[in-house]
């Protein structure tokens, strides 16, 4: 587990960017946190880290946005969905089990049907501008990712 305090949207983006640089085919980031805690901001960073230019917009309405970078990025948002059945009916497996990188916002709505190996990222308010970001790895791949992230931070 790793704890990170972000004092600004830019810092959240930078954390995302590091994650994007470390990402490998098939990686899965599950984002959990209230409106305004910076989930889309973090995803923006991940997109930049994957070499995607421009801005990632929230896919709340369309559910999935797809970007082409060093690896494909699937930005998924479950905010609009009400039940786990709806999530299953979406057919997200085609993305989650692909060679791309997937980021799922509001992942708490569907934890039971999402792959067990993932990096869970919990985002919470500390104040108007600062956020507490907790990174919880499930599976060897993500333990390794966090140790690489720590090495990058120490440099």
């Amino acid at each position: 587990m790793m704890n990170f305090i972000s004092e600004s949207p830019e810092e959240t983006q930078r954390l995302g960017e590091e994650l994007g640089r470390l990402a490998q085919p098939g990686d899965l980031f599950l984002l959990v946190g209230n409106l305004g805690t910076g989930k889309t901001c973090l995803t923006q960073g991940i997109a930049w880290g994957l070499g995607i230019e421009g801005y990632a917009t929230s896919p709340s309405f369309v559910v999935v946005n797809q970007y082409r970078g060093r690896l494909p990025l699937y930005h998924i948002d479950l905010y609009r969905l009400d039940s786990i059945e709806e999530v299953i009916e979406l057919g997200l497996d085609d993305y989650l089990y692909s060679e791309g990188v997937s980021v799922v916002e509001w992942a708490e709505k569907a934890l039971a049907v999402l792959p067990k190996e993932h990096l869970l990222i919990e985002m919470n308010f500390l104040s108007d501008t600062s956020r507490n970001v907790v990174l919880k790895p499930s599976g060897e791949r993500y333990v390794e990712m966090l140790s690489q992230l720590k090495q990058m931070a120490e440099r």
Binding site: G26, S83, I84, E85, I88, G91, L92, D93, D94, L96, Y97, S98, E99, E108, K109, A110, L111, A112, V113, P115, E117
Partner: protein, 226 residues
Amino acid sequence: MKLAIDTATEIASIALSCAGEVQAEMSWHAGRNHTVELIPNLLHLLHQAKIELKEIDAIIVAKGPGSFNGLRVGVGTAKGLAFALNIPLVGIGTLEAEAFPYAKTGLPICPVQDAGRGEIASALYQLQKGKWRRLIAEHITTVEELCPKIVSRTLFCGRFSPHIAQQIEEHLGKRAVVLKGTIRRAGFLTELGWSRLKKGDVDHPTTLQPLYLRRPAITTPKREKR
């Protein structure tokens, strides 16, 4: 004339057949674009074969396992056509269609489909005394879990990564005959469908369901009500 549709994976295939014999067939890399490409290619195939849609008297469809969205497009199109033309519909397992072309080898045939994240979809078939049998049902597994179940010389087929092929060969040595990069062709699907149609063993457009191996049991989601 029968129409067979297979959009279960990246390679899509369609075929027209008469009494189990293929009249025309088309296979192409559809990627994830089945929904856009299926109908135009279907019309093209009909045009090439000089066959009118109304001459089709049965539909055979690959029902899975495979890509969730690919299966929706194929099964949805097959159901719609069967319903509109009021003709029989037969759903055939994708792995069975994958294995069937090699039936005559007499070997147990193990079709393998890359299911992502280190997992595979697989099953086991064999032609025994002239009867085509399923020995192990379709399931999601890993190469490590599957290989101990393979006790005799077995033929592996399907479109999977070189890494999976290597894993199988490492685990099973000479027991495995690995055919790399075979593709499913809808022509074989029509043959399997024809043998069911002859017996009157058909599916119904309202009840045929795609075979999703990953579909979890939806009982009590681990989620607290907000």
